[in-house]
Amino acid sequence: MATISVDHLSFSYPTEDGQTPLILSDISATFASGAFTLLTGPSGSGKSTLMKLISGLYPHFAGKVMAGTITIDQRPVSQIDETKRSQMVAMMFQNPNQQFAMDTVERELIFALENQQLAPADMMPKVDAALTYVGIEALRHRKLNSLSGGEKQKVALAVIIAMDTDIILLDEPFASVDPDARQLLLSKLVQLNQERHKTIIISDHDLEDYAPLIDNLYVLNATGDQLRLLTPEEQSVKLAHFKRSHTHQVALSAPDSSDEASIILHQLKLSAGERTLIDQPDFRFYRHRITLLTGPNGTGKSTLLSALSKLTAYAGSITVNHQEVSQLRSKQLFLQEGLVFQDADQQFLNVTMAEELALSMKNSQKIDYFKPKLDAFLKQLQLDQLQDQVVYSLSGGQKKKLQILEMLIMATPILLFDEPFTGLDFASLQAIMAVMRQVATDCQQTYLIVSHQLFGLESLVDYHVTLDNQHLQYVEELA
């Protein structure tokens, strides 16, 4: 049982020239012991920063507290002994790839318990219980590197359960998790909150499903200077107002005979380790169409995009504009297609945003189209004021928008998107989809989009393909 209170807190990442722009400015909040709190706010408002401050990772690893304090049960977080603190607070990170130190699931759990100085004889029962609680006994001996995003988050939750901390912080934990896994994780959290009285703070953009679960809803504004607890009325209005569009009602058409194939799969076999992901006799993606690809976590959607980009070996055949991908030279292949990586940092080649944009403009296949429009696009995406900023210091959402824009500018005939909408708030999501729609139409591009986030996508996509049980299939609805 632990009460967290944030008292007039200001926090900054000092820049090299000695300035201290405030990420969080004079914010206050109290998270009651045993409460389930949802924290929301636009991308870049400082939700992750606040979480890491509560967990004690900051200012240890980055930044500086300029004013105010955070206390857990009236004791300042910075003064709590580190080992003690790790027994009080545990955190699940936004990026599932960034939370493990060991190689296998079991070793990671044991590592955490060893850190708590648990007696060796008590370890296995705890490991067993945690894995069973989350329902992932089957993953016990798997390599963490081979797990999908959703599976990794389940493992992360199992570690937290094994550590048995009073406070559980979750920083946009569902950003790369499919709806089923999200439901499962949420139900486990509710169970932990109700049965074991854990204090839970979770940040999320997607407010759906939370209405019956949470006690409090905090909203952090875009500039990070207002953290407000909504009244019960405001809370229910906000939650009711936020409805993911009722996507199951949206009908889409299926490809017809007039469609021309752009990417053809033939006897394609993709695998991860010993596991077969895709086994597909024949499949086509169509030219000048925007196709959405969905499917449960770990079914191989990212691996398919990776194989289409010659980054993963495959058996069988993949042709792009009638040329076999594995036989094309990378340079030739990437004149025809581009891949928007799931991790935005992987896309960047330069240091500042202006340099990034300049590189894309220099090598764009449709420079005449983009030259007059670039400024408007930047404005539309609210990136126009950030040109001198180092790309790695942008917020998650800003990185995503820049990354998509610079790949759109390249204007390759085919663009593959791997979870392009993660970490984007509502306004950013609307803006980036509008830009994508416009560019796709004007430049006659073919898109293949992998996304868990389905909100608003019906206005963007033409076709919907699902990947399940190793098979791709066109479906005529968004669900």
């Binding site: 550590m163 992987q346 080649l349 590189l359």
Partner: protein, 218 residues
């Protein structure tokens, strides 16, 4: 054998043969190393590499000694066999040890600070990721019309940047899972040094002295 002692033995052997000139002992050590390697059932490819790769420096050294100095064929032979002794003894130690066992043993038996032990383990687990990251960086370059060769500074800039952010993430991940520098930890797998671990170490070194002196006196 206990991993820490095994590596200590390999290092002591390597040190000792660096300062002695008995080629037969080098051959003997290489053969013993090879037997241990074969017992661990390596792939044919790995075995072939073990023979071929040292051949280059070994031949180069031997030829250089023969042509450029007047140290004579004996010294050339010593250097040639010494390289193989290094490689086979070293491989005998590494191929028969799991990295995680070595790290646990270094932490528990050799008492090196745990942050080094786990930092090393973390870095080792990152190796396959670094290889795939380099491929991704080159693909990202190609997608933007910029070809990155292995001498392109940008490739290294990105790779180093990625490594830096991984190391930071790794540190945060370890901290969030309760790891505190220099704090006591408990160990699920206790790695012990048994009397026969010391026995193997001492007897091996003793035999090496006997062989070196015996052959030297001849």
């Amino acid at each position: 054998m206990n991993p820490s002692l095994k590596f200590l033995l390999a290092i002591l052997i390597a040190l000792e043969i660096s300062f002695t000139n008995v080629w037969m002992v080098n051959v003997l050590l290489a053969v013993i190393g090879l037997i241990i390697i074969l017992a661990s059932r390596p792939s044919i490819k790995r075995l072939a590499l073990l023979f071929v790769v040292p051949l280059i420096p070994a031949v180069a050294l031997a030829v250089a000694i023969l042509l450029q100095s007047n140290a004579g064929t004996h010294f050339a032979l010593v250097l040639f066999t010494r390289i193989y002794a290094y490689v086979f003894v070293g491989s005998a130690a590494t191929l028969t040890t799991q990295v995680s066992d070595l790290v646990m043993s270094l932490e528990q038996n050799a008492h090196i600070p745990s942050k080094f032990a786990y930092g090393f383990l973390g870095a080792f687990n990152l190796l396959p990721k670094i290889i795939s990251e380099v491929n991704i960086i080159r693909a990202a370059g190609n997608m933007r019309g910029q070809q990155l060769h292995f001498w392109s500074p940008q490739l290294y800039f990105k790779a180093i940047l990625a490594s830096l952010s991984w190391s930071e993430n790794l540190a945060e991940a370890m901290t969030s899972h309760g790891f505190v520098e220099d704090a006591p930890r408990s160990y699920y797998t206790q790695i012990q040094i048994r009397w026969w671990d010391w026995g193997i170490l001492i007897v091996s070194l003793a035999l090496l002295q006997v062989a070196l002196f015996g052959l030297h006196l001849q």
